[in-house]
Symmetry: C2
Subunit: 217 residues, 2 copies
Amino acid sequence: MQSFTEENYLKTIYNLASKQQGEVSTNALAEMTATKAASVTDMLRKLADKQLIHYKKYQGVRLTEEGERLALQIIRRHRLWEVFLVQKLGFGWDEVHEMAEELEHIRSEELVVRLDTFLGNPQFDPHGDPIPTPTGQMPEMGYRKLSDAEAGEAVCLRAVMEHSTEFLQHLNHSSLTLGSIVTISEINAFDKSVLVQVGNDRTVFVSHEVAKNLLVS
Amino acid sequence: MQSFTEENYLKTIYNLASKQQGEVSTNALAEMTATKAASVTDMLRKLADKQLIHYKKYQGVRLTEEGERLALQIIRRHRLWEVFLVQKLGFGWDEVHEMAEELEHIRSEELVVRLDTFLGNPQFDPHGDPIPTPTGQMPEMGYRKLSDAEAGEAVCLRAVMEHSTEFLQHLNHSSLTLGSIVTISEINAFDKSVLVQVGNDRTVFVSHEVAKNLLVS
DNA sequence: ATAAAAATTTAGGCCAGCCTAAATTTTTAG
DNA sequence: CTAAAAATTTAGGCTGGCCTAAATTTTTAT
């Protein structure tokens, strides 16, 4: 059984690893967990002792199979609780992260099974992230960034890559919602900002910075 | 902001205090929290420093107004989550205590407000315990024990005073459910066990030990 | 190729929450 | 009323998770 803190490290290692290739660095972990590098080293030694990560001094870190299984379990719980908070309690998608960070640590297999059923076995969380399967598989979605689409294309908004309150509220403000079909009417050659057509009558300005954080298919 | 552990102490002090009068003893707390008396003393000093309890060495402990407010807030969360687990997720009333012990510590005022609304502002948890109001009042129910009722009386089963899995499963087994109206057909003079009539055709044997833990009105 | 910079680890320490053993206070029994 | 028993507190110590400062290793830039 892992502590709250150990679970957070595993989840963070998974998330960092999936945004890059090769090993995750101590410094990156320190930044994500808002601790100091020395503290991270302490924890890595502990996780390595428990066989949850592969760790060689100065060489960065990688999850073992068991570590990845646990990380996916925690991410699964996090995303299911986010669905609950949005779909059942009516929170905005910009309000649920902190609460889900706490709820994900509730220790009961049965609770997760029942929650999943109660929610109708959702495949995605409110941010469009896929929910890992009960057996610990992370569905591969193969989306690309809106910033990589070409003028004239029509694409569907599928997920966000940035979960900050500010970013999500900005999308609320622009009335860009997941599931919308948008047509790219213009890409600015200078700043790569995008004008997209939503539905029949609305045109929305999307900066390159924002477009890079929107996943479409 | 209190720690997980401090919250548990406050809740435990409240619960012990409501089952007696006067101060709560160090030993009683040690037993309830499954720790040693010396550890309890440490924590009492800390809670006293924070003005959450009245504490004089060797004299036992009592919640301050602020301490009671916090305790009731935690108990409110606990009971709301129990309602959620039973009503929405379909758990048995004998399965939810451990999970609620964890869920009660999730820190979000807004979450509690929305959960309460989602559940339809329940007044009682699955064990018949009243849910403290948002402002921190514990409703007084004025029930009495089934063991104090007289032969011939018809009473309604309202709550249980014992929350152990074993006790609750025993009631399941006897098909004694809260809300049932039972008529006391016989009280055994020797062991004080009770025969009760449930509905029209069922008679259930209730030992004195069990009857002492059933609240009726 | 090597010196400076950056990343990482080690050493030593702090705090929360627990422990045991010993000391102290309160309660109880005779 | 006092001695034994029970309850409680104090003293000192442990572990988890964090810290700073110093040492070490790796990377980068000349």
